[in-house]
Symmetry: C2
DNA sequence: CAGTTAAATAACCGACAGGTTAAATATAGG
DNA sequence: CCTATATTTAACCTGTCGGTTATTTAACTG
């Protein structure tokens, strides 16, 4: 996929690449230096860097024969924003609070925001619905 | 990779799967209902659901011939935590503040936390370093 | 110039991702 | 038992991923 969010998440879906980003968070550095911690050939690291670059997560300069890499965390902002939309689903207190509020102020059909909070299976009853 | 964080990010790296999660955020529903918005066969959706399930992002019940899916956002918490570590790199105000603090209170070698904030290329000067 | 170092590219490989169609499975209902 | 519905599984295809080794490009050094 070519959408930026998919590229960002795909780039993060590899522990080597996440380690590279963690290293770059400590400062700009060379490819050889980035490759040092890994039991992996240089071309492999080079490919990981290309994935990160195409995802916009790093950019590279030129200094003599070195290509210093630096972190470019912009895309992480959108990734974080996407995930944050789901915070209430892993924050139990907020979740419990919401259920409580739903009981005190039941969501009405007119309220778009509230109608999103529907509970229960939400499937079409279709035929018999025996149970 | 089999580590949970990689599985989570890999699961999120597909727009169809993100849309499925968005739909499930509005409530539990059936596979057919989940598949409806997509121009894609049912087996394809089924595979996406399997990816999400193996990543721990959804779980499935059984109700007659339906297999209702529900969101299980637990893994998103760790993903969010990982990304949050980089917030300072996309939050310019915080970044500027940090540079300001570094100038007022220069990081010392003894301070592990501070020594992480090194600026500049951070590569080995090695040989000549002509410039 | 020749030699060294840094990094990228090319060519190749096995494994997996994402899709298809066709067949199998599970359950409800007449 | 037969049929319809919901969903999964099987088999297959194509493209991409993550890795390799060998080669090439680029820049400094003596």
């Amino acid at each position: 996929m070519h959408d930026p969010l998919s590229s960002t998440f795909a780039a993060l879906a590899d522990p080597t690449r996440r380690a590279i980003l963690a290293r770059l968070a400590m400062g700009e550095t060379s490819v050889t230096e980035l490759a040092r911690p890994f039991e992996m050939s240089m071309p492999a690291v080079s490919k990981h860097l290309k994935v990160l670059e195409r995802a916009g997560l790093i950019s590279r300069g030129r200094e003599a024969q070195w290509r210093p890499c630096r972190l470019d965390a912009g895309p992480l902002k959108d990734a974080a924003s996407w995930i944050e939309e789901y915070r209430r689903f892993w924050a139990p207190y907020v979740d419990a609070l919401e259920r409580h509020l739903d009981r005190m102020f039941p969501p009405t059909p007119r309220s778009k925001k509230a109608s999103k909070r529907q509970r229960g299976p939400n499937r079409q009853p279709k035929k018999g619905e025996t149970k």
